[in-house]
C-alpha cells in the first residue's frame, strides 16, 4: 500500500496536533504546484490564446489568433463543424462578462444563451467561464443542462468478471434508480457473458434501463450492433493533435465512428476530460480547461449527442492543482452550454478524504446534470473494474440522505431490503435460465443463492473460468443477438424480463434514443432534451423535486414514524 511511504523526514519534533493532522486520510492525497508553461494548470494560464475569429466568404479563416494555414486538426475540425459561421464574429465579439451574466440570468432563456454560445470560439468560451465562481457555474449548469430531469449512471463490474454478480448488482442498481448501467472487464474475453448479464440484470431491476460495456472500439461496436448492449460511451477524444494521434484517432475517424453508431440505432457519447493531455506530456503549454473546451467543441462538431467529461480517469491531475475542481465543474458546464448531454464524471476514485469526495460532487449534484455520476459504483469499489469510483455501494445511504437533506434529486432512492433481495434473486435466476436456454456455462443454485445475499465478488462460489471463456467465445461465434436473449428469457418463463428487453431493442428501430440526453422512463417513454427540455427560468421553475418523487426520496433506512414513534417508517 502507498500508505507505508513516509511523507517527510521524521527528525524535527512535531506537535501532537500536527501528528493528528498528518494521520488524516486527507494527507494521503497528492498535490502539486502549477507549471503553466507545461499546461499543468487548471484554467488560468497566460499561455492560453486570446479569443479571435475572422470569417471570409462563409469560412472561418482565423481562430483564436491562428490563421487557417496554421490550424492544427483540432482548430480545423472545430472551425469547419462546431462553430456557427453566421454568428461567430458577432458572438465572439460580445463582452465575455455579458455572456457570463446571461448564463446565470434567469431572464435569459436556455435557447437565448445557445444562440450565443453556438458562435463562440474555444478561447472565448474559456474567457467566459473564467469569470464565473463555482456557485455561478452551478447556476449556469442548473439552466443549461439539456434534459429537464436529472439522472444518474452506475457501474456494475466484478473483480472476477463474475456474470452472476454483475447481473445481481445491475438489478439492485436499476431498482435504486440508475437510468444507465455500465460495465467493463478484467479479462476482456469475458465481455459477451458479462454484457449479457448486465442487460438481463438491468431489465429485471427496472425495465428500460440502458446498458453498455466499455471495450476497445471494434468489440464495443459489435456488442452494440448485436443488441447485447444499448449504448456506448468510451469513445475518447483529446484536446491536442499529438495526444489525439497517440490515441490512434483523429476528429474525422471519431466523427465517422459516431455516425456508425447512429446508423445502427445505438445511443453514443464521447469521453474526454481535463488533465489527459498534460498527463500524457503533450499539453502544448495550454491550460487543462482550454484543451477540454476544444474537446467539447470537437464533440459538438462531430454531431454526437453528448459527452462524458469531468476529468474522468485523470481526476488526480486537476484534483492536485489550485482551482482544479472549479475547472472540472466548468468543463461540465461548457458541455451543457453548447447543448450536449453531459455525463458529469464523479466516476473515479478521487480522494482518501470522505469530505473531499463529497465536496467534489456538489457542483454536479446540487444543480443536477444529465448524469450526475458517469459511473457511481453499484458494486463495492474493490470490485470496480474502472479502477474505483468516487462513490460506491457503501455510500448508498449517505447519498440518499444528502438528497433528502438538501432536497435535490441525485437520481437514486432508498429501496427496502426485501425488494432488493427479490430483484437480485430474480436477476440471478433469469440469467441461470437464459444461460441454460442458450447452452452457455451453467449457473448453480448455490450461485443464485449467493447472488441474492452477496456484497462483493468474494461472496460468490468461484466460476470455472475456462468454461466461461469458451462460452463467451461461443456467444460471438454463434452470432447470438439481443433477440436470442429475448427468446431465451421468454422460453425460460421470464416473460416480463423478455418484454422489457424486447421493448428496449425495439427502441433502436425508432431512433428516439439517438436524440440529445435521451433515457427511457419506467413506462418506456423516451425522455430527451426535445420532449423534456430544460425550462429553468428562475426560482419556482424548471425541475423541482416535488410530488411523488419527493415522497420517494423522503424514505431512508431508518426514519422514526410520527404516528407511532415506537416504530420506523417503512
Amino acid at each position: 500500500m502507498t500508505e507505508t511511504q513516509p511523507r517527510r523526514d521524521p527528525q524535527p519534533r512535531h506537535s501532537l496536533r500536527t501528528e493528528i493532522l498528518e494521520a488524516r486520510p486527507m494527507n494521503l492525497d497528492g498535490f502539486v504546484e502549477e507549471w503553466p508553461e507545461k499546461g499543468l494548470v487548471a484554467m488560468e494560464s497566460d499561455f492560453d490564446p486570446a479569443p479571435s475569429v475572422r470569417v471570409e466568404d462563409g469560412r472561418i479563416v482565423e481562430l483564436d489568433g491562428r490563421a487557417r494555414a496554421d490550424f492544427d486538426f483540432m482548430d480545423t475540425f472545430i472551425a469547419n463543424h462546431a462553430i456557427d459561421v453566421a454568428s461567430a464574429e458577432r458572438c465572439t465579439s460580445m463582452p465575455s462578462a455579458q455572456i457570463a451574466r446571461m448564463l446565470i440570468d434567469p431572464g435569459a432563456s436556455r435557447d437565448e444563451v445557445l444562440a450565443v454560445t453556438r458562435g463562440l470560439t474555444p478561447a472565448k468560451i474559456l474567457d467566459v467561464v473564467k469569470l464565473m465562481n463555482v456557485v455561478e457555474i452551478m447556476q449556469g449548469m442548473q439552466k443549461m443542462r439539456a434534459r429537464r430531469t436529472p439522472a444518474n449512471q452506475g457501474h456494475s463490474t466484478s473483480a472476477r468478471d463474475n456474470p452472476i454478480q454483475v447481473a445481481a448488482d445491475a438489478a439492485e442498481g436499476a431498482l435504486r434508480g440508475f437510468a444507465e448501467l455500465e460495465t467493463t472487464l478484467g479479462v476482456l474475453r469475458y465481455a459477451p457473458l458479462v454484457a449479457i448479464a448486465l442487460q438481463v440484470g438491468a431489465q429485471v431491476g427496472r425495465g428500460g434501463v440502458l446498458t453498455q460495456c466499455a471495450l476497445e472500439e471494434a468489440t464495443e461496436l459489435e456488442l452494440g450492433m448485436r443488441g447485447i448492449t444499448a449504448y456506448a460511451e468510451t469513445i475518447s477524444i483529446y484536446g491536442t493533435e499529438s495526444v489525439f494521434i497517440d490515441g490512434d484517432d483523429t476528429p474525422w475517424s471519431k466523427a465517422f465512428l459516431a455516425s456508425a453508431y447512429a446508423s445502427r440505432g445505438i445511443k453514443m457519447r464521447f469521453t474526454s476530460g481535463t488533465g489527459s493531455e498534460v498527463q500524457m506530456g503533450n499539453a502544448e503549454g495550454k491550460s487543462m480547461l482550454y484543451l477540454e473546451i476544444r474537446c467539447i467543441l470537437m464533440a459538438k462538431g462531430a454531431g454526437v449527442q453528448g459527452l462524458q467529461n469531468g476529468s474522468i480517469s485523470c481526476i488526480g491531475v486537476p484534483g492536485a492543482v489550485p482551482g482544479g475542481l472549479r475547472a472540472v465543474a466548468a468543463e461540465n458546464l461548457v458541455a451543457s452550454m453548447v447543448d450536449l448531454e453531459c455525463a458529469s464524471g464523479n466516476d473515479q476514485s478521487f480522494s482518501h478524504s470522505a469530505m473531499r469526495r463529497t465536496a467534489r460532487a456538489m457542483p454536479q449534484l446540487l444543480p443536477g446534470t444529465d448524469f450526475v455520476c458517469s459511473g457511481y459504483s453499484a458494486v463495492p469499489n474493490p470490485d470496480n473494474m474502472f479502477a474505483g469510483s468516487n462513490f460506491d455501494t457503501e455510500d448508498y445511504d449517505d447519498w440518499n440522505t444528502i438528497q433528502r437533506d438538501l432536497q435535490v434529486d441525485g437520481g437514486l432512492r432508498h429501496v427496502r431490503e426485501d425488494e432488493i433481495l427479490q430483484a437480485r434473486n430474480k436477476a440471478a435466476r433469469a440469467l441461470q435460465t437464459l444461460f441454460a436456454q442458450l447452452d452457455l456455462p451453467a449457473i448453480t443454485d448455490q450461485e443464485v443463492e449467493a447472488a441474492t445475499y452477496a456484497n462483493s465478488s468474494n461472496d460468490y462460489p468461484l466460476r470455472d473460468v475456462l468454461t466461461d471463456l469458451k462460452g463467451a467465445q461461443a456467444v460471438m461465434d454463434r452470432g447470438l443477438t439481443g433477440l436470442d436473449l429475448v427468446r431465451g428469457l421468454e422460453a425460460g418463463g421470464f416473460h416480463d424480463v423478455a418484454e422489457n428487453l424486447l421493448t428496449v431493442l425495439r427502441q433502436r428501430v425508432s431512433g428516439d434514443l439517438l436524440q440529445t440526453s435521451a433515457v427511457l422512463t419506467a413506462d418506456f417513454t423516451p425522455l430527451s432534451a426535445i420532449n423534456d427540455a430544460n425550462d429553468y427560468a428562475g426560482p419556482g421553475t424548471g425541475y423541482r423535486l416535488a410530488g411523488e418523487r419527493w415522497e420517494q426520496l423522503k424514505k431512508l433506512r431508518h426514519v422514526t414514524s410520527a404516528t407511532n414513534p415506537e416504530t420506523e417508517v417503512r
Partner: protein, 620 residues
C-alpha cells in the same frame, strides 16, 4: 441417442421397409447433469435437435426416439497420502535453491552474522545471515571477520543472495540461500554446508558415511542419520546441522484396511501396502460384490465419501431416497501416485514427494431413471420414445459399422469415469463389463503429481501435446521437432512449456521441464488406461485369455486421445490382437457407436416384427 457420463450423442436415420438404414446426421453435446437423471433431458434435446438440423429434417418428421438403457454406473475418486517426511530439531536444509554460491564443503559452528564481529579466531565458523541483510554488507562483514583471522568456511542466507555474496568475497566459500526460516537454524552447533558445481550433485552429505566422516559418528549414530543422507540425495546443495537427537523420519501414515468382498470370500488389505497389493487382492475376490473401509480410518472415510455422493446423485430429485447401503462398490482401481508436500519441520519449505494411493471406485445401483428422461424427451419433441437395448451390446453393434471389423469383436469404451468392455462372439452372444477408472482419474493424477492445483490445466496437459516456446518465432515440440512461425507468438507464452490447444499454445504454469511433464502425463495414462484395458478385456475374453480376441475397437472420448490408443495397441500387440480406434459408420470416428447401434437394432427388430413394414419413418 446415447447419454453417456460426459457426452450425449444422437444420430438420425431413415429406415426403409426392408430394414435398410440410411444415416442422415449425427450430433453430440456435453451431458447435462448426472447420467441417468432427469437433468439429462436438456442435453438430450440439444443433441437430437442438432442431429436433425444437420440432417436437414424437422422434429415433426421423427417417428420415434431410441434411448440407451444407461447402465447406472457412476464412479468416484479419492486419494490418500500414505507417507510423511518430518525433520526434527532443524537437522537439515535440503530445499535445493536454484542459485547457491561457491562450491565445496564447509564444516564449522553456526554463528549469526550479527555476532560475527565478536567472534574469536580459532574454530571454523558457518555464518548464518538473517533477513534484511544486504548482500554487499554481508560480504563486507564476512571478509572483515576473515581478515581478523576468523575461519568462515560457509554461509547460510535467508535471501536469494548466494551468488552475489560469493562473487564479492576475497575467499569464496560454499553458500546456501533462500532459507526462509533461517532464524530457526540452531546456533552454536556443528554444521556442514555442501554446494556442488552447476549440473552436479552433492557427494558428501548425501552419503551416510560422508556424514559419519564429517561429524565423526559411530555406527549407531550413522544408522540414525542415514535418512538425512537419503533425503539429500540428488541435491546440488545442502546443509546438515548436528543436533543431539535431530533426524529426518519418513513415516508411513496408517490409512487403514480395505475390505474387499466377493466370490464368497472377504479379504482385507492395508492400503499403505500400495496399489499392487490392493489390485492383487482384488483379483482374488472377482467378481467384487462390495468394498468397505474400516470405519474411523482414512480408507473408511474415502469409500464412505464416494458412497455418499453416489447416494445423493442417485436420489437426486427421485421420490424415494436411496439407502447408502443399497449402493455396492462393484469395482476398484488402485494406483500408486505421489504428492509433492511441504516437509514438516523444514526451514526452507523443503518439498518431499510423498507416496499416495489413488482409488477409483465404481458403483452399480439397481435403479436407472432413464424412463423419466425418455418421457421428458418425448414431451420436448412431441414424439414417441423407446428405451433400447443394453449399452454394451449397442456399442458393439455400432462398432461393427467400423470398416474392416468383424466378429468376434470386443469394444473398449474409454470414458470419463469408467472403462467399459463388451464382447460379441462369432455366435452373437454379448457380454459386457465396467471397470473403475478412466479419464478423470488420469486428470487427477496429473494434477497432483505436477502439483498444478488446477483441474483445468491438468485436463489440458492430459489432452494436448506439449512444446517449449524457444523464441517468438519457433517452438520445439515434445518429440524434438522444431516448428517456425512468421507471426511472433504472444508474449505470455515466451520461454514457457505450453500445451498446443486448438486455439494456439497455452502456457502450463509449472517449473518442471517439458520432459518431466511428459513423463508424468504418459505414466498417468498408462497406469489407468493400459491397466484397465487389459483388466476389462480379460474379464470378457473367453477363459480370460486375451489371445482369444481378434478385433478390439476403441470407442469413447479418450479414444480420440493423441496417444492412449497407441499405448493400448502396443500393450495388446503381444497377444496378436487387431486394435485400433473405431470409425463408426465409417465417418464418426469413435463417436456415436451406441446411438448407431440402437438404430441398427431397431431396424432389425422392425423388419423381424412386422413383415409388411410401415411407411418409412425417421428414427433418431
Amino acid at each position: 441417442m446415447d447419454i453417456g457420463n460426459s457426452t450425449t450423442e444422437a444420430c438420425v436415420a431413415a429406415i426403409d421397409p426392408d430394414g435398410t438404414v440410411h444415416y442422415l446426421g449425427t450430433d453430440l453435446t456435453h451431458t447435462t447433469g448426472v447420467k441417468g437423471t432427469p437433468d439429462n433431458t436438456a442435453g438430450a434435446l440439444t443433441a437430437v435437435r442438432g442431429a436433425l438440423h444437420r440432417a436437414g429434417r424437422r422434429a415433426g418428421e421423427v417417428t420415434t426416439v431410441l434411448l440407451n438403457e444407461a447402465t447406472p454406473v457412476i464412479s468416484g475418486l479419492a486419494m490418500e497420502t500414505i507417507t510423511e517426511t518430518i525433520i526434527t530439531e532443524s537437522t537439515m536444509i535440503g530445499h535445493n535453491p536454484t542459485t547457491p554460491g561457491g562450491t565445496g564443503l564447509g564444516v564449522g559452528t553456526t554463528v549469526s552474522i550479527d555476532d560475527l564481529a565478536e567472534q574469536e579466531p580459532g574454530s571454523p565458523v558457518v555464518c548464518v545471515v538473517p533477513h534484511g541483510w544486504d548482500f554487499d554488507d554481508t560480504a563486507t562483514a564476512v571478509d572483515r571477520a576473515v581478515g581478523r583471522g576468523v575461519d568462515v568456511v560457509a554461509a547460510v542466507l535467508a535471501g536469494d543472495d548466494a551468488v552475489l555474496v560469493t562473487n564479492r568475497l576475497t575467499v569464496p566459500i560454499p553458500v546456501v540461500d533462500e532459507v526462509a526460516a533461517v532464524e530457526k537454524v540452531p546456533l552454536g552447533m556443528l554444521a556442514a554446508v555442501e554446494v556442488a558445481a552447476p549440473g552436479r550433485t552433492i557427494r558428501t552429505l548425501s552419503n551416510s558415511y560422508g556424514l559419519a566422516t564429517v561429524f565423526g559418528l559411530d555406527p549407531d549414530q550413522t544408522r540414525h542419520v542415514s535418512p538425512v543422507a537419503r533425503a539429500l540425495t540428488g541435491n546440488r546443495s545442502a546443509v546438515v546441522v548436528r543436533t543431539p537427537s535431530g533426524d529426518v523420519t519418513d513415516r508411513r501414515i496408517p490409512v487403514g484396511e480395505l475390505v474387499l468382498r466377493g466370490a464368497g470370500k472377504s479379504l482385507r488389505v492395508d492400503v499403505d501396502a500400495g496399489a499392487d497389493a490392493i489390485m492383487e487382492t482384488l483379483a482374488r475376490v472377482q467378481p467384487l460384490d462390495d468394498a468397505h473401509g474400516e470405519p474411523g480410518t482414512h480408507v473408511g472415510g474415502m469409500l464412505a465419501q464416494v458412497r455418499d455422493t453416489m447416494a445423493d446423485t442417485m436420489a437426486d430429485g427421485a421420490a424415494d431416497l436411496v439407502e447408502v447401503s443399497d449402493i455396492a462398490i462393484r469395482d476398484v482401481l488402485a494406483v500408486d501416485t505421489f504428492v509433492p508436500a511441504e516437509v514438516r519441520g523444514g526451514l526452507a519449505g523443503e518439498v518431499a514427494l510423498e507416496n499416495a494411493v489413488a482409488l477409483a471406485a465404481m458403483v452399480r445401483t439397481s435403479r436407472s431413471r432413464m424412463q423419466l428422461v425418455a418421457d421428458l424427451v418425448s414431451d420436448g419433441l412431441g414424439t414417441a420414445t423407446a428405451i433400447g437395448g443394453i449399452e454394451g451390446e449397442m456399442a458393439v453393434s455400432g462398432a461393427l459399422t467400423t470398416p474392416g471389423v468383424d466378429r468376434p469383436v470386443a469394444v473398449l469404451d474409454l470414458g470419463g469415469g469408467s472403462t467399459d468392455a463388451a464382447l460379441l462372439t462369432r455366435e452373437g452372444e454379448c457380454s459386457a463389463v465396467h471397470v473403475a477408472g478412466a479419464g478423470e482419474l488420469v486428470t487427477k493424477l496429473i494434477d497432483s503429481e505436477l502439483a498444478l492445483g488446477d483441474r483445468e490445466v491438468a485436463e489440458a496437459v492430459k489432452r494436448y501435446p506439449l512444446a517449449k516456446v524457444e523464441s517468438f518465432f519457433h517452438i520445439r515440440h515434445e518429440d524434438g521437432t522444431v516448428q517456425f512461425f512468421d507471426e511472433p507468438l504472444p508474449p505470455q507464452v515466451f520461454a514457457r512449456v505450453v500445451v498446443l490447444t486448438s486455439d494456439g499454445p497455452v502456457p502450463v504454469p509449472t517449473r518442471h521441464a517439458l520432459d518431466h511433464v511428459r513423463r508424468v502425463r504418459r505414466e498417468a495414462k498408462r497406469r489407468v488406461f493400459v491397466v484397465n484395458a487389459v483388466r476389462a478385456l480379460r474379464q470378457v475374453a473367453p477363459g480370460a485369455n486375451l489371445r482369444a480376441l481378434d478385433f478390439v475397437v476403441l470407442l469413447g472420448g479418450s479414444a480420440l486421445d493423441f496417444e492412449i490408443p497407441d499405448m493400448i495397441a502396443d500393450a495388446l500387440a503381444g497377444s496378436g490382437i487387431v486394435c485400433g480406434t473405431g470409425n463408426v459408420l465409417g465417418t464418426e470416428g469413435p463417436r456415436n457407436a451406441v446411438a448407431s447401434g440402437l438404430v441398427r437394432a431397431y431396424a432389425a427388430d422392425s423388419v423381424a416384427a412386422v413383415p409388411d413394414a410401415p411407411a418409412p419413418g425417421l428414427a433418431g
